[in-house]
């Protein structure tokens, strides 16, 4: 077997050095009732060619986004990732290293994390960022739970524009911690409605911009209202490229900003692995979840980096930790950071402007289709349309015509009674021909 270096002779010799006569002697502590003599009922080993054949056949039955006109978003976005990103993250020293617990031989990973934290904080307009969480939805839940520790209050208010899967994840996890999670009714343009729901027991208000319907909102007034009531404002973003065009959470008064970082550096991957971005005000950092990398010096006085403030973490504080997270999204954070370093501010702003332009072109095209009404007033690269037919049916019909034409809102939130809403996104990967093909197909389907 190609991944196992020991030879039969090695094994015999090693058993002799150990002083036992068979491998079974090393498993004597297993209760007799649980010892399996034979093999489990699964196929035997297979060569590379055979494995490649099976997996390639499976992959071929999926419709790859790049093979068709593609307009899906709703929390995951298809962007072009420079070839050097994927090459660099496959460097052995990044790909096959562990969490940097021995900083003298992990400065590569640690310096990347320090740079990543700085990039994320700058993007979000915040003071400090952590070294990543699993994804945007778990980052949202972690942020909500953090506000309970900071404010000693128990109630979270989520706007009707927060992605329904983020709401559900937050309800699941924050409820486990004993928090009351109030989710307001879904609404295309109603972030301000959270203001009326703030009370003296409110730990945090959670708003999303651009929200799940694509609506971009200046949340400054919400921040003021939250702060006046002693609550914290969490701003969620599912499309990180939007930071290149829209006001940052920090500029609008966010205390904690969280985001899905997949858009930068990472492929769609059917939903994972992604990378959760988390940033907050500096004074809150000791209550933050996840790893933090900090600057220090070595014994010779040279600048270096270490994991720090680990007294917040599970391996030190155990049941008093700020989160149970251990493994996070290191390699996805590296991909994010490399792509961000290639873009720079200049490239990010151009990329964001191009995305916005493509979405406006899509809007213009779809507005002319009978039975289609654009609902989102102000958007970045995604907007909601109201259809004269159930959106789930329309999407299936479009797929049959070779167009992946967005995400029905009912897929995210089946009980909301918004079956006629379709979410469509356009990034820099979309061409004018793609938009024309979408319009033609949608016109046929709506006829």
């Amino acid at each position: 077997m190609r991944y196992l270096p020991l030879t039969p002779d090695d094994r015999v010799q090693m058993l002799g050095d150990i002083g036992v006569d068979s491998i079974d002697a090393l498993f004597v502590d297993v209760p007799a009732s649980a010892r399996r003599e034979g093999l489990v009922d699964l196929p035997h080993f297979a060569g590379e060619l055979e494995v490649e054949r099976e997996l390639a056949a499976l992959a071929a039955t999926n419709v790859a986004a790049g093979s068709v006109p593609f307009f899906c978003g709703a929390g995951a976005y298809r962007h072009h990732v420079p070839a050097s990103v994927d090459h660099l993250i496959q460097r052995s020293e990044f790909l096959t290293s562990y969490t940097p617990y021995q900083p003298e031989i992990a400065q590569g990973t640690l310096q990347v994390l320090f740079e990543f934290q700085t990039q994320v904080a700058a993007l979000m307009g915040m003071e400090v960022a952590n070294a990543s969480l699993y994804d945007g939805s778990t980052a949202c839940a972690e942020a909500v739970m953090m506000t309970k520790r900071v404010t000693r209050r128990n109630r979270a208010v989520l706007s009707g524009g927060v992605h329904p899967h983020y709401v559900r994840t937050t309800q699941t996890l924050a409820h486990a911690e004993g928090m009351e999670v109030v989710a307001l009714a879904a609404a295309v343009d109603a972030e301000d409605a959270v203001i009326a729901a703030i009370d003296a027991g409110t730990a945090c208000v959670v708003v999303q911009t651009p929200n799940v319907f694509g609506t971009a909102t200046d949340v400054t007034k919400i921040a003021e209202a939250a702060h006046a009531a002693g609550a914290l404002l969490i701003v969620v973003t599912t499309e990180a490229v939007s930071y290149g065009l829209l006001k940052s959470p920090g500029e609008m008064g966010a205390d904690i900003a969280v985001a899905e970082g997949q858009s930068i550096g990472n492929a769609l991957n059917f939903g994972g692995p992604y990378v959760g971005l988390f940033a907050c005000r500096e004074k809150l950092i000791r209550q933050a979840p996840g790893r933090l990398c900090g600057e220090t010096v070595d014994a010779d006085g040279r600048r270096g980096f270490v994991l720090t403030l680990s007294t917040r973490e599970q391996h030190i504080r155990r049941d008093k930790a700020t989160s149970n997270i251990c493994t996070n999204s290191g390699l996805c954070a590296l991909a994010f950071s490399i792509h961000m370093s290639l873009l720079g501010e200049v490239g990010l702003r151009k990329l964001a402007a191009l995305n916005h332009q493509q979405a406006r072109a899509l809007k213009t095209a779809l507005e002319g289709v009978k039975g289609v009404e654009v609902l989102t007033p102000r958007f970045f690269n995604e907007f909601a349309v109201k259809l004269a037919k159930p959106a789930a049916q329309v999407v299936e019909a479009l797929a049959a015509k070779g167009v992946l034409g967005g995400v029905p809102y009912s897929r995210l939130d089946p009980g909301a009674g918004l079956d006629d809403i379709l979410l469509v996104a356009a990034t820099e990967t979309v061409t004018a021909e793609d938009i024309a093909a979408f319009k033609t197909a949608l016109t046929e389907v709506m006829a």
Binding site: F27, G75, Y98, I285, H315
Partner: protein
């Protein structure tokens, strides 16, 4: 006598004295002293060619970002050089044995990377119509089948994103089952003192209080203490098996029986599944829920701290409460039960936005198919053989924490053998770095003084094991011979000397700031 070729180039080294010059630039041979990206003068630069938008975003007045963001850019050659230089400062499995106990640092096959990058897996959206992702759902279903068969468990929740996320999923499932059965008053979780930190952290997260179970002198759960602490208030026990001392819990079946008799569930931390895969099925031990770290046992790369994947196998009693979404097979093909209503109505909730770590699923499945039933059993056997070989070959110079009987996939030593040498476990670990090896896990588990936990994994050759053993024996001899300086200042030959962690924590500096870090040219 010196040799020269015809144009005067010396062809053999000249005689020199032993004086080592510090370099003039901080660079050392192949190791570059690499600045931060913020110090590379990349303001106003970009390494990506993107066309300008044709018109301004005049529809977004009042929402536009006008302040400087503060992000430097690098051209492609600069970026490649920056990250390659940084990479050279990392230890990696691909360089040498990486014996971190409890972390299972095994070889990561490159076939898995290639498969995960097929467009049909990497370039599909989580919310495409399910009719267009049948192959992806089939892959998840096949992986689930392998996990269930290898563990002897009837169900598996695929969505957790790492081990700790899996623990959380397991305990939330248990809590939902208790609540559904009128047992919601059970609020205590019993955890052995030797447990991973994530176990008590997870229990606390779920709102449970944690009570520790004592350990016997031979490194196992004390049945007497367990029995005394079980009761109507206990929701679950969390036991790692093989445990963090690298030992199989001999009384595991009895532990499960006592737990079930008390009305509690048995959560098994499956971090150490690599030791028993293909030889022991947790379902035969009485386990109710167990997470499987695909990034340990099934070789998806650790990536410097993730991403991982932590599917949780479940007993029939717990299965209905598993989190949404999950894959279901209907006559017309695969579907996703996404909840909250419909087929996933009994789910306790949702662990994250989408369907789990698909990229890791492809890698883990490619690994399993490559090994097969026979290969996976050999994996466990070789992992255990390698650990016992290390224990046997080092047992006379270091002190095994539990010398009697075999260990499983990792060998645990204490610092008893260092007494009187002036060398600590930390010093010894740092000196290993100078010899070219990553240190073992140190000071964990907490139940052993100065713990050194060595997990070689099955992907090491005998030659590499012997090289490692030779290095540790030489270091042990040096410690006992009083060469304290070799240890106290170590490492001397790594990219950096020992770092000041106290300074980092006292004055946290968590990001680069222009005012605090003027450009290098100005320094």
């Amino acid at each position: 006598m010196s040799s020269m070729n015809t144009v005067g180039r010396p062809t053999a080294p000249a005689q020199t004295n032993d004086y080592i010059h510090p370099t003039l630039t901080g660079g050392r041979g192949l190791l570059q002293d690499e600045a931060l990206i913020f110090e590379l003068d990349g303001w106003g630069k970009t390494g990506v060619d993107i066309p300008d938008a044709d018109r301004p975003a005049d529809d977004l007045a009042g929402l536009l970002r006008t302040d400087p963001i503060g992000l430097p850019g690098l051209s492609e050659p600069e970026a490649v050089r920056h990250y390659v230089r940084l990479s050279q400062k990392n230890h990696a499995i691909d360089l040498a044995l990486y014996p971190l106990g409890s972390c299972t640092m095994k070889h990561n096959p490159r076939l898995n990377e290639k498969m995960a990058r097929l467009d049909g897996f990497a370039d599909i959206h989580p919310l495409q119509p399910v009719s267009t992702v049948q192959g992806a759902l089939a892959l998840i279903d096949r992986l689930a089948h392998w996990l269930k068969t290898l563990t002897g468990m009837p169900a598996v929740a695929m969505t957790p994103k790492a081990g700790a996320h899996g623990e959380l999923c397991g305990l939330l499932t248990i809590r939902a089952a208790h609540e559904a059965n009128g047992q919601g008053h059970r609020k205590t979780v019993l955890v052995p003192t030797s447990a991973h930190g994530t176990n008590p952290a997870t229990a606390a997260f779920v709102g449970y209080s944690v009570v520790e179970i004592a350990q016997t002198e031979d490194g196992r759960v004390s049945l007497a203490d367990l029995e005394a602490k079980l009761g109507d208030h206990v929701a679950a026990i969390m036991v790692t098996n093989p445990n963090t001392c690298g030992l199989f819990e001999r009384d595991i079946v009895e532990i499960a029986r006592l737990t079930h008799a008390a009305g509690a569930y048995f959560y098994c931390d499956g971090a150490n599944f690599n030791a028993i895969v293909g030889r022991v099925r947790p379902g035969d031990l009485g386990v109710d829920a167990m997470h499987i770290n695909l990034h340990k046992t099934f070789s998806t790369p650790h990536g410097g701290g993730g991403p991982g994947a932590g599917p949780v196998v479940l007993s029939a009693a717990l299965a209905p409460f598993a989190p949404a979404p999950w894959v279901v097979h209907h006559a017309g093909g695969f579907q996703l039960a996404e909840g909250p209503a419909g087929e996933a109505a009994s789910a306790f909730g949702r662990m994250s936005a989408f369907h789990g770590q698909m990229g890791m699923f492809v890698r883990a499945y490619a690994y399993m198919r490559s090994h097969g039933a026979d290969g996976l059993r050999q994996v466990a056997e070789d992992a255990v053989l390698n650990a016992n070989y290390i224990k046997a070959r080092l047992g006379d110079v270091m002190s095994p924490a539990f010398p009697d009987g075999p260990c499983m996939h990792e060998a645990l030593f204490d610092d008893h053998w260092l007494e009187g040498t002036g060398v600590t476990t930390l010093d010894f670990a740092k000196a290993m770095i100078d010899e070219g090896f990553h240190p073992m896990t140190m000071y964990f588990p907490l139940v052993v003084h100065g713990a050194m936990l060595i997990e070689p994994t099955e992907t090491e050759s005998k030659q590499e094991l012997d090289r490692f053993i030779g290095a540790l024996r030489a270091l042990a001899a040096a410690a006992k011979a009083g060469e304290v300086d070799r240890f106290k200042g170590a490492p001397f030959h790594a990219p950096m000397r020992r770092l000041d962690e106290t300074l980092a924590a006292r004055k946290p500096k968590l990001r680069w700031k222009p005012e605090a870090n003027p450009p290098l040219a100005a320094q």
